[in-house]
Symmetry: C2
Subunit: 202 residues, 2 copies
């Protein structure tokens, strides 16, 4: 049996923090895992900016409620789920993901949680595990699945390399420059073809 593990932001939905940056006009919130490889550093930086501007979880959720999934993402995912098992592995938070999962027809997502104080301010976050995407791939492999992993960011690289097969999808030049051995796909058509090749060989 095969299982396909996909990153969420940049692959199926827009980058949530970039959308929130646009909404608030706070330029500094544009930084994502595509730019910064140290996730803890990135999240602490974001939480500090939210505090400075007195922005709460609800403010981010209001932005997310207006986000649409990427053009073609639902159709791509629907077809993929008719072919094999799919799990989304994301470093986002369940508090952010819910409305997007609804739009995508509730695929299974393994992600993280925020810690929010009584006033609704985000004070910290709870990673399920360090390098949790890679660990999820290892867990599925230990359960005797053949795994395919794909994403666009630094935090996807260890899972892609650990999986039995994988590729990048719309990754930025900074990652392409370093990861010359990983195949890049940029349309859902190419992406699905790449996954189908893997499924047919396993």
């Amino acid at each position: 049996m095969n299982i396909v593990c996909l990153d969420l932001e940049g692959v199926l939905v827009p980058e949530i923090w970039i959308a929130f940056s646009k909404e608030t006009g706070i330029e500094k919130l544009k930084l994502t895992t595509r730019d910064e490889s140290d996730y803890d550093k990135l999240m602490k930086y974001r939480i500090n900016i939210l505090k400075e501007h007195n922005l709460k979880l609800q403010d981010i959720q209001n932005t997310i409620s207006k986000i649409n999934v990427l053009d073609g993402a639902k159709e791509f995912l629907d077809e993929l789920r008719s072919l094999t098992q799919v799990v989304i592995l994301s470093d986002t938070f369940s508090e952010f993901a819910a409305p997007l999962m609804k739009q995508l027809g509730y695929p299974t997502i393994l992600c993280n949680d925020l810690i929010v104080d009584e006033t609704g301010m985000i004070v910290d976050y709870r990673l399920r595990a360090q390098d949790g995407k890679r660990k999820a791939i290892e867990a599925f492999k230990a359960l005797n699945f053949k795994t395919f992993a794909a994403g666009d960011s630094y935090n996807d690289l260890t899972m892609i390399k650990k999986a039995d097969g994988g590729c990048l999808f719309r990754a930025p030049q900074s990652i392409l420059d370093v990861e010359k051995n990983l195949k890049l796909t940029t349309t859902y058509e190419q992406f699905l073809a790449e996954i189908k090749t893997f499924l047919n060989n396993n």
Copy 2:
């Protein structure tokens, strides 16, 4: 983060082998994991009966294509998937599950594969792992999920006992007689209430 692991047959869809037994009139195919605790013995017994009657995978798939999911199962699962992550852990086969997963809106299912010869006869099966349901629970726990498991059969007992929470759903008397400490639910309303209690405490 929480993850709810559900058995498939008897919980969300009818027992496939019972349906096939009715369709073919072969009484001996009525035996399921609710009756026989040794899964390998049960499958070898089934494969032998299929061979005797020259019944192929396609014959079983024709029966499955006419099966409807249990009354209320889709609504139950839809609500549950809007609340938390759900994975179906089943000892059925991907060759059987596909049309039923479509009816249920493609939840993630971890199950097994059949080995089919060139004439379409089922000659063997491939368990992903011995006691695979329990191992999946252990894997999710190792990934720092709080796990809830539920089912109706012998092959669900180890996963239910290993999970952080769990219950039986419409289990037969033979299991209730032995497993007096496991809570039994018999309607989707009770079932959902039991899971919600778990989610609220985790």
